[in-house]
Amino acid sequence: MSTLFAADEAKRLLDAAIKGDMPDERGRFGPFGGRYVPETLVPAFDRLEAGVKEHLHSPVFQAEFQKELREWVGRPTALSFAPRLSEAWGAEVWIKREDLAHTGAHKINNAIGQALLAKRLGAKRVIAETGAGQHGVASAAACARVGLSCSVFMGAVDMERQAPNVDRIRRLGAEVIAVETGDKTLRAAIDEALREWVTDPDGIYYLLGSAVGAHPYPYLVRELQSVIGTEARQQMLDQAGGLPDVAFACVGGGSNAIGLFYPLLGDDIELIGVEAGGIGDGLGENAATLATGTPGVLQGSYTIILQNDDGQVQETQSISAGLDYSGVGPEHALLQATGRVKYISARDDEALEALGELCTTEGILTALETSHAFAAARKYAKQNPGKRILIGNSGRGDKDIPTLTKYPAGI
């Protein structure tokens, strides 16, 4: 995709992205993004966009949001130096600990921000989708916190492989709606949430969990998640005495990656997004959207998607439910096309191996999603000795125990 633009056009678009001029007023990140939604939802998107404009950067909303991040989410999250991993890899490894945020992943930053927004916009009810269940848990917790009812759509396949999170969502007072349609994973859950929203566009607030979908979601989620990169940048300066040479984050829809990368776009830091390589390179064997996909429209946005020649969206495969998605946020599509961020993939077995290594060297059980970032960073460190590496540890792995029990510890 890096050949999509001429060099000067790529530079112009990237400069605009770094300056904060993306998305434009039509919700475009260069050619990507936009708003491809059913007519019934157009007025709801108009209201949401107006609400985001009015509140998101207002001092009153920001004060409330920052207070919740500090006192309820537990921010700032730590930046941990990883001495034993550094030694094993021949690198200087720093880990941004989103696993320490309330509910155990970065998802809570977005969920509490949007729940506060939903309350201000007078929503009667919140709906959300979830893949790995982390966004479902975060939405349930955030809605309980602000006093809104919440229904979470979750694919039947994901309910099985992320069973602990299903129970957590219910205990936090939200309803879990099993999605038996489509591929029964994240993509089907988003389709089903959109269908539900269409039934009551005035009363429902759709709390979308990733930087995907129609405008203004990719923008809104990025703004709420940018706290990750803003904190990590300052912490690197304070604790490591300088910025990293390279930063890694896993990419499904891409919310934790855009949250980490966005505040670092203007720095001289190599940025690498890691998608799910699944079990192989063939169509349907992975969820490496940016690595192997083509431009198209999925779930409200013109972006890079996994599709066949007829424009039918393809099913994906990954050991991690949170990366198991056929699309990706439109801003990532732009960052790839401009060459600013490199997107690669790690396979299931590499992710599992990295997960085991992080457990035994640093005492951190990371999520299967995040393990992909560690797997790629590990490979990079071996090829580029002595680098200072920052890894976004997007979430903790307790939810993955049902999957991990199939693989013996210590592999």
């Binding site: 708003r35 491809y36 007519e39 019934t40 269908r195």
Partner: protein, 255 residues
């Protein structure tokens, strides 16, 4: 007469004969690809305009019935290219103008220019694209209009009045008035349609057809008081799903 004006004409002819125009919807190639043209001919003999659904992997505005038919058709290899090939082979045998209902991505993958050429050749005079709102439609609209093909706009009970006017002005072929705030395949019509449908008609200079939740003759009669045509989708797909002849079902709708 441009291609999309043939859609107006077909609807007007029905109205002139004293009845509501009937716009049946079928998912192309469902339930069996080999029966596609026979099913289409049969349905077209009872309908005034036929809406042909292009199967898509992510039909986010559709309920269970059309999701299911779409999935089955894809499983059996139905694609837009195959549909055009089949339509070409049935030139002159289909007794109604066709409109295609497709989500945007299969059309993007096909290419807009090729789409317009093949549509015109195949007797497809209009397009309904449920995930393409007016603001994103400039490019497709221009390509279609250059060939005299119509981009049919949907309007809904949630559409504000100023937007309603914009959408009615932009629509070509007919205006698709969605009767409910919801997805296709609903249980039935809402009770208070009069104000909404009257308002849509007042803004439109072309025929208005109502769709979503139309299942029986009384539903067709209910919308027929206000608008030129009635679109019947999920209820017809269910008839096909049960393996029944769609013609008596459609004829009973306008009795």
């Amino acid at each position: 007469m441009s291609a999309y004006e043939k859609i107006h004409a077909a609807i007007s002819t029905a109205n002139d004969s004293g009845r509501t125009a009937l716009v049946p919807f079928i998912t192309a190639g469902y339930p069996e690809p080999k029966d596609f043209i026979a099913t289409l001919k049969n349905v077209a003999s009872a309908g005034d305009v036929v809406e042909l659904g292009i199967p898509f992997s992510d039909p986010m505005a559709d309920g269970m019935t059309i999701q299911r038919s779409s999935f089955v058709a894809l499983q059996k290899g139905v694609s837009l290219k195959w549909i055009f090939d089949e339509l070409d082979s049935a030139q002159g045998e289909i007794d109604a103008p066709l409109v295609m209902m497709s989500y945007l991505n299969p059309l993007l993958a096909f290419g807009f220019e090729d789409l317009a050429d093949r549509a015109l050749a195949a007797g497809v005079y209009g397009f309904i694209v449920p995930d393409l709102p007016y603001e994103e439609s400039t490019e497709l609209r221009a390509v279609l209009e250059a060939k005299g093909l119509g981009l049919i706009q949907l309007v809904t009970p949630a559409t504000p009045e100023d937007r309603l006017k914009t959408l009615c002005d932009a629509s070509r072929g007919f205006v698709y008035a969605v009767t409910i705030t919801g997805i296709t395949g609903g249980a039935g019509l809402p009770v208070d349609l009069a104000d909404y449908l009257t308002k849509v008609v007042s803004h439109s200079t072309i025929p208005v057809c109502a769709g979503f939740g139309i299942r029986e003759a009384k539903d067709v009669a209910a919308v027929g008081q206000y608008v030129a045509g009635a679109i019947v989708g999920s209820a017809l797909v269910e008839v096909l799903e049960r393996g029944e002849d769609p013609k008596p079902f459609l004829e009973a709708l306008i009795e």
